[in-house]
Symmetry: C2
């Protein structure tokens, strides 16, 4: 007998198992209510030191949750028993900076070499859930599109081969709720933390809010202020700009679901 | 003309310059009021990946503030213009796990090899200053001794050659001030954050508070509760246990003074 079930009500372990069996291949938005999801970046060990340093030096945009041992396929702290190579619904594989595959399982790549290091990076899903709980609207969820993201003029601290500018995401917030939006997200430094800019896109090199560099534009209503948060696309953009020999990431919106609650990320 | 001056009133850059000139060779307690001081660990590049992973996996005990490039001698984010090899009043040099020198300058060691990686790790001086400002007593400061520190049964997450248990520091807090002590330090995750235990030393494997493993015992008065925080000796103990071929640290209490305020560490 098959039970239909609400993805929000799944435990993280059950959701990962279903993904691993190939039963879920779409985005993980709304899965496992209350649990943190993360971005994945997988690099050969030879590039891992530079990338780990890059994240350490740019913690707002690249908040590292966990780094697996070289060759390991489990995030032991955030998801004991997980299989990094199979527990994400869809991956992207890059070779020499070029997208070469979008598989639902990357076991073969992990089997073919023992030097892959997996990085789990905090994701804005966690703070958006905190914003919604505080009664603060999240426009791109209302409009059913991807969050608008912009390249900025804010330089990242470089590390070895990795460098670039911060990418930010933007959410329009009613002006009376801006202090609350800052306070709620400031509590969550492991998932990007407080905004980096409020109300002055031109001050960070964004010429036109209607034309995001990634994602979709959203409506900014009368009385709303554009609020900008450091974005997890920053490390991905820095990696891609370096044209690494080999790299695996999650496909956008297809995240790694952890056993750690968003609330526990504040501790 | 020589001006006598209060060390608390020095700017960090002035204090580092005086240390670099050899005018200050003692502990930095009380220097540069309001500015964060940090622990130093210097390791050869070959050991640096494992150590960086160890810190990433044990952020409460090993809160990394900054990691310099291999061979670099400046903490560019926390102290632009600093000289890691000369700006600490006294260093300890270890070879194959044995203390071989306690110099006031380690320039010669940095000159002799280009592969040294310097790690700056958050220090409890920062949260003690926040406790004092909140009217919470800090006993070992009152008694003019070193803080008592204890090995515990709390395992650290291992990384490569580095493993061990968490070392904690203990401060006796009047019971009515315990909630405030938790709240004040919880705000500062980059300098160890909230306590790991309150009132039950036996629960974390500490048999006798009168016999600390490091530092000095302090008086616990009637109505006071022993409160335990993760301690920066944890990474040093893990490094020493691995008997690395080469390692430099600060001498206890002789810290690296940064240009970043304790208040800014909360952001």
């Amino acid at each position: 007998m098959e039970l239909s079930c609400d993805p929000a009500a799944l435990t993280p372990a059950a959701a990962r198992a279903a993904i691993r069996r190939g039963e879920i291949t779409g985005p993980t938005t709304g899965f496992c209510a209350g649990y943190a999801q993360g971005n994945l970046v997988v690099l050969p060990k030879a590039l891992a030191w530079d990338f780990l340093l890059f994240c350490q030096r740019n913690p707002k945009a690249c908040p590292l949750l966990e780094v697996a041992d070289a060759g390991a396929r489990t995030f032991a702290q955030f998801a004991p028993g997980s299989d990094i190579a199979a527990d994400i619904p869809r991956y992207r594989v890059y070779e020499h900076g070029r997208l070469t595959a979008e598989p639902t399982d990357v076991t073969a790549y992990f089997d073919a070499r023992q030097d892959l290091v997996s990085f789990l990076i905090g994701c804005s899903f966690s703070f958006e859930s905190a914003l919604l709980e505080a009664g603060i609207p999240v426009r791109q969820i209302e409009e059913g599109v991807n969050v608008p993201m912009y390249n900025t003029s804010i330089p990242c601290a470089p590390a070895g081969i990795f460098h670039g500018s911060m990418v930010v995401s933007m959410r329009p917030i009613p002006h009376r709720l801006v202090p609350a939006a800052v306070a709620v997200t400031a509590e969550m430094p492991r998932v990007h933390g407080m905004p980096i800019q409020i109300g002055f896109p031109e001050a960070i090199g964004i010429p036109d809010l209607a034309r995001p560099d990634y994602g979709d534009p959203v409506t900014i209503r009368e009385g709303e202020v554009p609020v900008f948060w450091p974005c997890g696309v920053t490390p991905q953009a820095a990696v891609m700009a370096s044209r690494p020999s080999f790299c695996i990431t999650h496909a956008p919106g297809h995240m790694f679901i952890t056993d750690v609650t968003n609330a526990a990320l504040k501790l």
